[in-house]
Symmetry: C2
Subunit: 246 residues, 2 copies
DNA sequence: GAGTGGTCTAGACCACCGA
DNA sequence: CGGTGGTCTAGACCACTCT
């Protein structure tokens, strides 16, 4: 049985449920809430923090959704066993690498405006032949080539120079110009590298590579990017945390 | 602007928010709510269905989480563009194939109780040397080999015969004996097939295969299964829908 | 300024679990 | 049986967006 003692800042713009969820997450990550530990029930926790039960429930729900807590009716709430792994988030590879301090670097191989091929216009919900910006980049980390990234975007969304793309990465640039990604649909697969891919990635021809295609949608539900990416399988993999809601 | 007209069954054990969410999902799938369509605001929708706003909100939230709807403050709620794809769920390959009518078939290659290797005992949170059931299966679909599946489970959870495993699949058997999977942590990668794997899957040696390891936890947060699986990359891929909560 | 979703409260009743 | 989470209500105020 474990209670909580947090300072809730009611004047902060950060929602109360979020403050609480972050606090519990830190307690788990730093070991003060051990795997298997039982939390007090929702009513008690709400009282301890001076919150209503729905707000407390929402905080707990956030962590259940992340796979950090497990709830069972009639029993209680526990910290899940197993080492914590982050769920895949709607971030770009660049973000991941920056966080991991892998000295990411980007080489822009192609950057032009073309008439959208049929397959791309379908994915982006455009008329065939509409102009799209095509982008081909080679991503490096720790001085090793890591991924070949192909992106297609509606032309009006991508007025960036190769220079800035190389420095900042595509996703931060889009965010800074007011495009908010909300939903992405990805497909992950594998195949053998072509000769050109093998050369760029520094692997043998025919080596197994990991593939990922992604269509991203903004907060109006419009498609804003289609990506077709290829990763070296010896240095990249995807992690996913799945949660089954009863 | 689109309203809703549903029959809500208040005597049903199915939660109201779930009834509503399912209804909206059907409306979208069957095209009566087109991509980009705007829904009425939450208050109006709640009134139309005779529900409180929090309940209506929760129904909408379910679909936002699934990536079917998109909300923007001050603007409204819209159906997302782009063909709908199901998010990866906490189901087994067998379930997927049964739904797709691919005549799945399972060949049990090995099924025995062994002392847990270190790597497995760590994943399952057991003491080294504890007994685990090891399972090696070859999965067929449409008369083609599709996947080699390795599973390890704590011995007491898996009292099943090879016969029943072959007929029903592992996950339904576990469910029927009272084990409820709640959280799974997966890692997806790629590599070249070994000679034995290539033989079993009917591909060339060194062909690219998709790999997935998974640790599953039950509703007490205990690890109940570790799986290490290999898929033919020409007939299998993973789909993931990611949603970014603002 | 009008309209939208985002957050929060203080209650209520119920279904399920374990002793 | 008591304790737990699961659902639901009817309000309230706020932050943001568009015009």
């Amino acid at each position: 049985m474990t209670g909580l003692s947090v300072e809730i800042d009611r004047s902060s713009p950060v929602p109360l449920y979020f403050q609480v969820a972050q606090h519990i997450e830190r307690e788990i990550e730093e070991g003060r809430l051990a795997p298997g530990a039982r939390l007090d029930n929702e009513i008690q926790l709400a009282d301890q923090l001076g919150l209503s039960r729905p707000t407390m429930r929402r905080a707990i729900q956030e962590l259940v959704n992340k796979g950090l807590l497990v709830r069972k009716r009639g029993v209680g709430t526990q910290v899940v066993h197993g080492q914590i792994k982050r769920p895949v988030k709607l971030t770009s590879l660049f973000d991941d690498l920056t966080r991991a301090n892998q000295r990411p670097r980007t080489e822009v191989l192609a950057h032009d405006a073309v008439a959208a091929p049929d397959s791309i216009s379908v994915e982006l919900n455009l008329r065939p032949g509409d102009t799209v910006v095509r982008l081909k980049r080679l991503r490096w980390a720790a001085d090793e080539p890591l991924a070949i990234m192909h992106n297609w975007l509606p032309a009006e969304l991508c007025p960036f120079s190769a220079q800035r793309l190389s420095e900042l990465g595509l996703y931060p640039l889009l965010r800074s110009s007011g495009v908010n990604m909300r939903v992405a649909k990805q497909r992950i697969g594998a195949r053998a590298a072509t000769a050109e891919e093998a050369r760029l990635l520094g692997v043998k021809r025919g080596a197994a590579v990991l593939t990922m295609t992604r269509t991203a949608f903004d907060d109006s539900g419009d498609a804003v990017e289609f990506g077709d990416h290829i990763y070296r399988s010896d240095s990249y993999s995807f992690e996913v945390t799945l949660v089954d809601q009863p």
